[in-house]
């Protein structure tokens, strides 16, 4: 341990009751403290198990008109892809498909046959979509679009009210279809 750091820790040991945390003098400490509410607008990641899903709800019926207005131009009618996507050319992905996984060809992977968890679908739409207007949807609209895509894929009851609790319970068919490529590098 560098001497300066040792001295700083030593000082802390005696000043402990006064300071809330050890002051390590050997790095600049130029960040500014932020609270959870400061970060709230940016705090948009979702854990695979649904942790961090926000309040709000939506249904497939509510999602359908939003899909038509904001998504269909790139992802095709009903999420079935544009002609370009269907012909296998580079294009925004097909969202709704009953294709089966076919060996190693990754062009056959879909939300329905491949994604192991459902909450990341909400996470991706909220973070990145629509392509030309990201972060423009309300959480209610994101729940509604998520419900629409899941329902069109027959992964949920079309009448389901999707919210943090119900989205977490959606079972994806390929939940157990993966192995980590480098197990030694995975956190334990």
């Amino acid at each position: 341990m560098p001497m300066r750091k040792m001295l700083a820790l030593f000082a802390f040991a005696f000043a402990g009751p006064v300071l809330a945390f050890p002051v390590l003098a050997d790095t600049p400490h130029l960040g500014k403290a932020v609270s959870a509410s400061d970060v709230a607008k940016w705090d948009i990641d979702i854990q695979a198990d649904g942790t961090f899903l926000p309040p709000g709800e939506g249904t497939a019926a509510q999602g359908a008109p939003i899909y038509v207005a904001k998504c269909a131009a790139c992802h095709g009618d009903g999420g079935r892809g544009t002609e370009q996507a269907k012909s296998g050319k580079p294009a925004p992905p097909i969202l709704v498909s009953d294709a089966k996984l076919k060996g190693m060809d990754a062009s056959h992977t879909t939300i329905a046959n491949y994604w192991p968890y459902a909450p990341p679908l909400f996470g991706y739409i909220r973070a990145a979509m629509p392509w030309n207007e990201p972060r423009s949807l309300s959480d209610h609209e994101v729940y509604a679009l998520t419900a629409y895509i899941l329902a069109e894929n027959k992964l949920i009851d079309p009448k389901l009210v999707l919210n943090a609790k119900s989205l977490t319970k959606v079972q994806m068919p390929n939940r157990n279809g993966f192995l980590p490529r480098f197990p030694d590098l995975m956190p334990h």
Binding site: V34, D105, F178, R181
Partner: protein, 448 residues
């Protein structure tokens, strides 16, 4: 080398330099010997070694007049204007845009900034560096926000690191060799010297909650791309990079700041970095649930499952010169030159073959050989004017080495049909690349 891809050899008057592997491979120091060996080689490397008699020299026009004004920021010579990246979405349709590095026209071990490969999923953001903020929060004791000015006051470190898209080399999953050049096949990899702040310093200042096992890194651009990264990598060699080859990051490479995770697949090196959140588990984001995973054919090591968390770019090499599209003008001596790298460590050895893998010679490695960075390898070769198949095979310092085509296909499989060359779908292909040289000197992509 000629800019149209012509390679001029030297007259074939070196027949007494002994081959050390089949089809004309020479010792890696054969053309560098001086002093004690000069007497042996003097006859062949003397005044006649450069071919036909020279013409009398005359004064060229550029030396007889005033040149151009000196620009504040210089670009390449007009004679280098074809040394550019190739674009996979030139009309900027609403999808990802890719630009590939022209390895076949470059040398050395660092990629010029304007030619560094880039993939942008929603265009290149126009980020005002003074207004950019970077926050660390989640399972930390003291969540904090940093400005670029603040980070510039931290201890900076510089290191070379390659960045390689997980989908680089994907055309080699094709069942037939796609007839395209090293830029199309392997152009989604580049290497720069990155300068920035070690992430471990900032994490230390924020105080890590022991429940944190991963962190989510998020970009400030339209996709707000998120990747889940083991915290151990963040505490090891992860860097918040601010400079690329000595100047601020290029806009397409993450300006004003990006995450650099040496050796880990490109997509995890989140550009336009604005947020790191320490978390107990991974997000399984779109990028981790679908794009950067590896569906496997039945009967392989995964037992029918697909691989995810495909962090590492494993050891790889490819010859960049001569390579597909080049033409050897005449028999004689050429230098074989290429790039090798490994996400696990340093390149230990590169072997080169000119006879499709039947015999091999060890290439010279250009030092200093650095961990998780491009290493340039070179080897002299005397082309006898007949057919040849050039290959390189690299080893890293963990002992890992590149598979042959048959080994790779046995372990990983290959596609049933030829995929579009620009649309990578399968990932992490590090098979040996082969270039066939025809009797007329034409170089093409081959499988061997």
């Amino acid at each position: 080398m000629g800019r149209r891809g012509d390679l001029s050899g030297e007259k074939d008057d070196r027949q007494d330099i002994e081959e050390i592997a089949g089809n004309g491979l020479l010792h890696r120091r054969a053309l560098l010997r001086t002093g004690l060996t000069a007497g042996v080689l003097g006859a062949t490397l003397g005044p006649h070694a450069t071919g036909a008699a020279a013409e009398p020299l005359s004064e060229p026009p550029w030396g007889l007049t005033v040149g151009e004004d000196t620009p504040p920021y210089q670009g390449p010579s007009k004679f280098s204007k074809n040394i550019v990246r190739s674009l996979a979405n030139p009309k900027f349709e609403p999808r990802s845009s890719l630009a590939r590095t022209p390895h076949h026209m470059l040398e050395g071990s660092l990629t010029p900034n304007g030619l560094h490969f880039t993939i942008n999923h929603t265009g290149i953001p126009d980020i005002d560096p003074a207004a950019h903020r970077f926050v660390i929060h989640g399972l930390v004791k003291r969540p904090q926000v940093f400005t670029l000015d603040a980070l510039l006051r931290y201890p900076l470190t510089s290191r070379p690191a390659f960045v390689e898209c997980g989908g680089n080399s994907a055309p080699l999953f094709s069942p037939i060799p796609i007839q395209d050049n090293v830029q199309a096949l392997h152009g989604l990899a580049s290497c720069a010297e990155w300068t920035g702040v070690k992430l471990s310093i900032l994490l230390d200042e924020c105080g890590i909650d022991p429940r944190a096992k991963w962190f989510i890194a998020e970009g400030a651009d339209g996709p707000h791309l998120m990747r889940s990264i083991p915290l151990a990598k963040g505490l090891d060699d992860a860097m918040i990079a601010l400079y690329q080859n000595g100047e601020p990051l290029m806009p397409g490479n993450g300006f004003p700041m990006r995450l650099v995770l040496p050796g880990y697949e490109g997509n995890m090196n989140v550009k336009f970095l604005r947020r790191i959140k320490l978390v107990p588990g991974p997000a399984m984001s779109f990028w981790e649930s679908q794009v950067y995973t590896e569906p496997m054919p039945p009967g392989k090591s995964s037992g029918g499952k697909s691989y995810n968390f495909n962090f590492l770019n494993e050891v790889k090499s490819y010859i960049t010169r001569p390579s597909h599209g080049h033409v050897l003008k005449e028999p004689g001596v050429y230098e074989i030159s290429g790039i090798a790298y490994s996400g696990k460590g340093k390149i230990a050895k590169v072997m080169v073959s000119a006879d499709g893998g039947r015999s091999w010679a060890e290439a010279a490695l250009q030092g200093p050989v650095q961990t998780k960075a491009f290493t340039r390898f070179r080897l002299p070769w005397r082309w006898n004017g007949g057919p040849a198949i050039l290959q390189s095979r690299a080893w890293d310092d963990t002992g890992a080495f590149q598979p042959t085509r048959s080994e790779f296909v046995a372990a990983r499989g290959q596609l049933d049909s030829e995929p579009p060359v620009t649309a990578f779908r399968n990932h992490h292909c590090n098979v040996i690349t082969s270039w066939a040289v025809s009797g007329r000197g034409k170089v093409t992509h081959a499988y061997a």
